[in-house]
């Protein structure tokens, strides 16, 4: 992890509340960013308001490729995809190309990739709920680069919540969409569809990110299907580096720091019911 100034390459508004921000990172990373890791963005011009940085997952990670990228001195391009929900993200949504941003990262422990998970080359399920999707996209890109078959289950409230569907279709062998209002895909919850489509042997491993109630339902279902997996969690954060103990979540090994031991945890370690 390093504290540095990133340059905004560009920012696009997707619908009314979602933003896609592309950053160039001028630092030489001693360790490259991994899918599932996140960054802290200090959402202010100067001074101390808002006081705390905003944690956002890396949506895409790749080396600079185009001439335009190298002009801004990028070593690596980091993209984030976020929903405007409050003061910090509203400030961030107003940043324009060539603005500088104070960034700390990459932070936390990302997804463990298949060779580490001792998987056979079988299918992998990615289960995304709403704005929990971004880290799974970075993971999906990495998995497909490694020739793994990826199946996406993606749920949201309505059509507008489901983003980058074309890119997902290019990446995943199957894409299952669910919305609460039925405006696209099936109507209902992501777990309804999972229950229907997934059998004990139909996948080797799963990765999920989304709202807590969804993660809880997914964890429960997958546990019954005996499919191992990992969950990416959110918690309120202050330091982001593991020093303040503000972001803990309950696990079978006691409280663990979401910013350090997480945000990705083995699914069987996390205790989600309060």
């Amino acid at each position: 992890m390093v504290k540095f100034q990133a340059l905004v390459i560009n920012q696009t508004c997707l619908g009314e509340e979602f933003f896609h921000l592309k950053l160039s990172t001028p630092v030489v990373q001693s360790s490259p960013a991994l899918p599932g890791q996140f960054i802290h963005i200090y959402c202010r011009e100067s001074g101390t308001d808002p006081l705390l940085p905003r944690p956002l997952s890396l949506f895409r990670i790749y080396p600079r490729t185009t001439a335009a990228d190298s002009e801004v001195g990028a070593r690596e391009i980091w993209e984030v995809l976020y929903k405007k929900v409050g003061k910090g993200t509203a400030w961030l949504s107003r940043r324009k190309a060539n603005d500088a941003l104070e960034v700390l990262g990459p932070l936390g422990r990302g997804f463990s990739l298949p060779q580490e998970t001792a998987g056979k080359p079988g299918r992998i399920l990615l289960i995304a709920g709403g704005i929990g999707m971004p880290p799974l996209f970075a993971l999906g890109e990495e998995l497909s680069k490694r020739g793994r078959e990826v199946i996406l289950f993606y749920g949201g409230r309505s059509k507008q919540d489901l983003l980058f569907l074309q890119e997902w279709r290019d990446l995943a062998s199957q894409v299952y969409l669910v919305t609460e209002d039925g405006s696209i895909g099936r109507s209902g919850l992501v777990t309804d569809l999972l229950r229907e489509k997934v059998q004990p042997q139909s996948a080797d491993f799963y990765y999920a990110c989304g709202p807590r109630p969804m993660l809880q339902a997914v964890q429960d279902l997958m546990n019954r299907l005996a499919i191992p997996g990992e969950l990416s969690l959110e918690e309120r954060m202050a330091c982001g580096v593991g020093a303040c103990l503000g972001c803990v979540t309950r696990t079978t090994h006691g409280y663990k720091r979401v910013c350090r031991e997480g945000p990705v945890f083995p699914a069987d370690e996390v205790i989600l019911d309060e």
Partner: protein
């Protein structure tokens, strides 16, 4: 190097007056990855209790206007694991280490002090007397002059290390407590700990924090902290370590001019993780610009204003 920034807190010499506040810097491992932490005047470690503590249920953090509410609940590995796992790492850092300790009985305070007495690499003990005293129905030691003095006395009896007593701002008259701990033998006073506060989540119709109440820190509390440093400076003779909302060199200087001999940064690290590096540089620049030979000359100078 930086001789003119060095300060003394009783028998402890710090290479500069900038410390990290307990609980905001862990045991220095994490921030060591970000900057050279040996630049610091000292490191005050996370509060240590006799037994390991799991801490409060989440959420533990809430941002407020220019402030931070926290209810960590003193999560820590306990004094024995501190000694075996953290202290060896801390000893390798070329700066002063202060152990912040907390007990819920006098016996616990004494026991922790005894265990740390056997160890090298600790320059002073800082007593967190804001935690609930189980014998007195959960009331913090730090809210009564008598119990604050008693803890100080007991710890002094079990250690040869200098004892700094960290005061809670959640009291009617901070000077009473300060005078009581000075009389009981405290070598220095640290203040302020966090101010008790809370926040409510409108959608969930419940308190934001898992613990309901939390401690407020950050720029929002700075004026209160400064006022208390000022009052305590007029009430006692022992050195003061000031803190509460420091984010810049100007803040550090305000605390010093109000009466602090050293100053700690806590929440400011979350706002700007590299703040200490910039602050130390700016302190140097300030001394040059204002033609001050030693930063110690500035301690309490604001109290002379009427005499000018």
């Amino acid at each position: 190097m930086n001789n003119h920034l060095s300060v003394r807190i009783g028998e402890v010499t710090l290479k500069n007056p900038l410390l990290t506040a307990s609980g905001t810097f862990g045991f220095a491992r994490e921030y060591s990855e970000l900057f050279d932490v040996s630049l610091l005047g000292g490191i005050v470690v996370k509060g240590i209790t006799l037994q390991p503590k799991e801490g409060n249920p989440p959420p533990r953090i809430a941002e407020t206007p220019s402030g931070l509410l926290n209810a960590i609940g003193l999560q820590n590995p306990g004094v024995r694991r501190f000694v075996t796992e953290e202290l060896p790492v801390l000893r390798r850092i070329d700066t002063t280490v202060i152990a912040n300790i907390a007990g819920s009985t006098l016996e616990e305070f004494a026991e922790i002090a005894k265990i740390l007495q056997a160890e090298t690499g600790i320059a002073a003990l800082e007593l967190n007397i804001s935690c609930p005293n189980v014998r007195q129905g959960g009331m913090a030691f730090g809210v009564h002059p008598e119990s604050a003095a008693k803890v100080t006395e007991v710890v002094k009896k079990h250690t040869t290390l200098p004892v700094w007593v960290k005061l809670s701002p959640n009291v009617t008259d901070i000077t009473e407590i300060a005078k009581a701990v000075e009389e009981a033998g405290a070598d220095a006073i640290t203040l302020i700990n966090t101010l008790l506060g809370m926040a409510i989540d409108l959608e969930k119709r419940r308190p934001v924090l898992g613990n309901i109440f939390g401690g407020l820190s950050g720029p929002a509390v700075k004026p209160v902290a400064l006022r208390m440093v000022w009052q305590v400076y007029e009430a006692v003779k022992i050195p003061i370590i000031g803190m509460g909302g420091v984010t810049s060199a100007r803040d550090v200087l305000e605390f010093i001019m109000a009466g602090a001999s050293a100053v700690a940064i806590g929440t400011g690290l979350f706002t700007q993780p590299l703040a200490p590096v910039g602050i130390l540089q700016e302190l140097e620049e300030f001394l040059v610009k204002e033609d001050v030979a030693q930063i110690t000359e500035l301690t309490g100078v604001a109290h002379n204003f009427s005499a000018r």
